[in-house]
Symmetry: C3
Subunit: 155 residues, 3 copies
């Protein structure tokens, strides 16, 4: 990390910013998708969400879990568990001054794997499609973490 | 992002640091709030949390869900799903060198919206108060993401 | 934050990178640990995960919750709720130019506390071991947040 100040201005950092923003936006879109399933399946988490024109009894009936809603929520949770580590590790990795093509490869594999993961999860594709997508993303993040620890280790 | 190195030292970056810290602290306070509800409602997630002077039978009875505890936990989860993206996008946005007043507007709308969201959620205010607060926060983050992708796109 | 540009190249920043990477890796390892418990307890979240050679009836039976799986998942969730704030606050803290020994103390207490927290949670150690570990981590993060707000406050 000797010349990290110059690195923050580099193509690697621009590429990181672009891919991190795209994959965070993808994660954020899980929230409207959950809302869509909650509305169409009439399965809400809170009685006050069930609509303004209904009485208390009707609202309470609509506070329930639905398999499709829960599936989208698990997908969202898996995004949190994988995309946030990618963003943190990716930022520190970009500051270690890696080769541009190696960095792009990592970012593209990760972001691509998360789009495939979401499609496989929400559309219920048979395994191991979702499992392999998840592993590819984990692999990209672990590989970047390895470079950070070999370049910048300071315990 | 041409002059990003100078930007990290700027008022925009100081403002980002301040608002990001405040909103992360707000998110962290959901944990003691959950603990408070778990203790007063006697609804724990683990038998070992239910108190040291009780026997195994009593402890197991207190491992249960409570509507108030679950409400605070959903609020905490919504914070994770929205505040973490804001912090990541906001950091990259601050490095694109935006106008100070525009940046402050984004940060203030986001942080304000999340405080309103928490109050609306925990105090069960009627909808659409919580929904509108959530949308304002999403809008601020999307607007910053738009600037990153138009300023720093590198695919 | 007057000399923040120089700070990003400092030993404090290298130390932050190292400890943040280690604790994020620890968090990521909760996912394989959950998978291990799901496989050994035969308790899956999705029917398509329950194995390729089984019929639909058998798969649906294996979509169930298991106390050991839920315990690891709560531990993972607690990591998300605590480690992500540490990483964000720790990054901004490292940019305020703190004393190296003070910074190392904060990073080591936090990372150590999270390893103890995980061991206490997964191995069901009696309380208050897990509670104290959680509080030590919260304390380290709050202390760093205090320095950010006293050094860089810009509202």
């Amino acid at each position: 990390m000797a010349e990290v100040v110059h690195m923050i201005d580099s193509e690697v950092f621009l590429a990181f910013s672009t891919y991190a923003t795209i994959v965070i936006l993808k994660m954020m879109l899980m929230a409207p998708l959950t809302a869509y399933f909650r509305l169409t399946r009439k399965a809400f988490a809170n009685p006050e969400d069930a609509g303004m024109r209904k009485n208390e009894e009707e609202k309470k009936k609509m506070v329930r879990t639905d398999p499709d809603v829960e599936r989208v929520r698990r997908c969202h949770q898996n995004d949190l568990e994988n995309i946030i580590p990618f963003v943190v590790i990716g930022l520190l990795y970009a500051l270690t001054g890696p080769d541009l093509h190696t960095a792009l490869l990592h970012f593209r594999i990760f972001v691509g794997s998360r789009f495939i993961h979401t499609i496989a999860y929400v559309m219920v594709l048979p395994q191991p499609s979702r499992g392999l997508a998840w592993m590819a993303g984990m692999g990209a993040t672990f590989s970047m973490a390895y470079r950070i620890l070999t370049t910048a280790l300071y315990l």
